[in-house]
Point group: none
Chain length 224, copies 2
DNA sequence: CGCTTCCTTATAAAATCCTTAAAAATGGCT
DNA sequence: AGCCATTTTTAAGGATTTTATAAGGAAGCG
């Protein structure tokens, strides 16, 4: 979830852009008056989308005014297709230049590409059966939202997913999660499995199979 | 001066692009055969420019193959102007998508914009979650005013923000802030976290999440 | 000395984990 | 098919662990 500020004097354009970007789960603020945009205000956003042609202050001027103090990507929306204007825009520190008329698909793709770059980091992630594990953040993500796993639940879940297809007894799972001293009641693991399944159910996925008389395993060929 | 690799089967195009980018002082390598491009080789470049339509392996396939191991910006050159292809390209982790025919001015402007962004990162200021860190001044700014952090509070806060998304135990945080001998009571860290949160609360932002049983982390805007 | 910062301690609050017990499901048996 | 023994699932409650909060004292610094 990222915060985006859109500056355009055309109110129709604002609502159009807002609707498009909100589909990707972003938080959109809009502003029709460029002169009202101060550097300090921009610092809370992850990306700025500026129209070039506006009465009063235009997008170029606004960019020039705030660039020094704003670190996030700045994208221009423009009807001017001339190279000179485009080069000028990039020269002011812009990160992209989207020519009108643009498709909403392109707008979304470009905005997301810039936001993604901001958070692109060497993360150890694993995707299995519709669930994405961020091993650094110790978080599991399904669809658009983070699953509210507890530490134990996450650990069991990650271990199963990491060794998808392999069957683990309750004792093995307990040991894998809490180290060697597996002094735990097997039913404690069953309890966790139950909770995990309940939380996954909200996203209509159930990758954990029970092997009767043996234990549990993560389904290997995920039918997503 | 940056190193750029251009992959295109069209030799005329290669020399054209090379000439254009060399005007900006970049070092250009070219490659006509996509299958010959290995991830390890790409890691020495600051930017990759890939043609989409190539005999043998196309640009999309190449991107897919190397993206996980290559961290630099990847730009597509393409004649395909359809939205679907464009969205697909961005979906593969591309950073820009330049439609043929493009002007050399636009090409240069876009390439330079991406390269500039890369070097903007190692600057001494960082903006995350509504807080801007001035690492030189050791000051954190939220909204209009400087946060009254103590030295230790600032250090913990900066370390968390710098490694947004990653979970740190109290011991790790203490060590990260005071170096080697982490002979500190974990509850001292908890105390600092409390104070940090209290001071951030005035600006209605709370980017620090507690991962129960593990530690703390700075919330990362996850862009799926 | 007064001030800030940091650490410690103590207590309250919260969340998780485990245990227990009953209900449901499974597989094998006659 | 029907029944039984075993295993799994579900549910609820208390015990345990971890975190949040508050207050007091030691150490550094002007």
């Amino acid at each position: 979830m990222s915060k985006v500020l859109v500056v355009d004097d055309d109110l129709d354009m604002l609502s159009l852009v807002r609707a498009a970007l909100e589909k990707d789960g972003h938080l959109i603020d809009t502003e029709a008056d460029a002169t009202a945009v101060q550097p300090a205000r921009c610092q809370q956003y992850d990306l700025l989308l500026l129209d070039v042609m506006m009465p009063g202050e235009d997008g170029f001027s606004l960019c020039r005014r705030i660039r020094a103090e704003v670190d996030c990507p700045i994208l221009f929306l423009t009807a001017k297709a001339e190279d000179a204007a485009l080069v000028q825009g990039f020269g002011l520190g812009a990160d992209d230049y989207i020519k009108k008329p643009f498709s909403l698909a392109e707008l979304r793709a470009r905005v997301n590409a810039h936001l993604r770059r901001e958070v692109r980091q060497p993360t150890h992630t694993l995707s299995r059966g519709g669930v994405r594990f961020d091993m650094q953040a110790k978080a599991a993500i399904a669809g658009e939202h983070t699953l509210p796993f507890t530490r134990g639940e996450y650990a069991i879940c990650e271990h199963l997913a990491l060794h998808a297809g392999q069957v683990f007894t309750k004792e093995q799972l307990y040991e894998a999660v809490f180290g060697f001293e597996a002094e735990g009641d097997p039913s404690a693991v069953a309890e966790h499995i139950k909770n995990i399944r309940a939380k996954l159910k909200a996203d209509a996925i159930s990758p954990i199979e029970t092997v009767w008389g043996v234990g549990y395993k993560w389904r290997k060929n995920s039918v997503l």
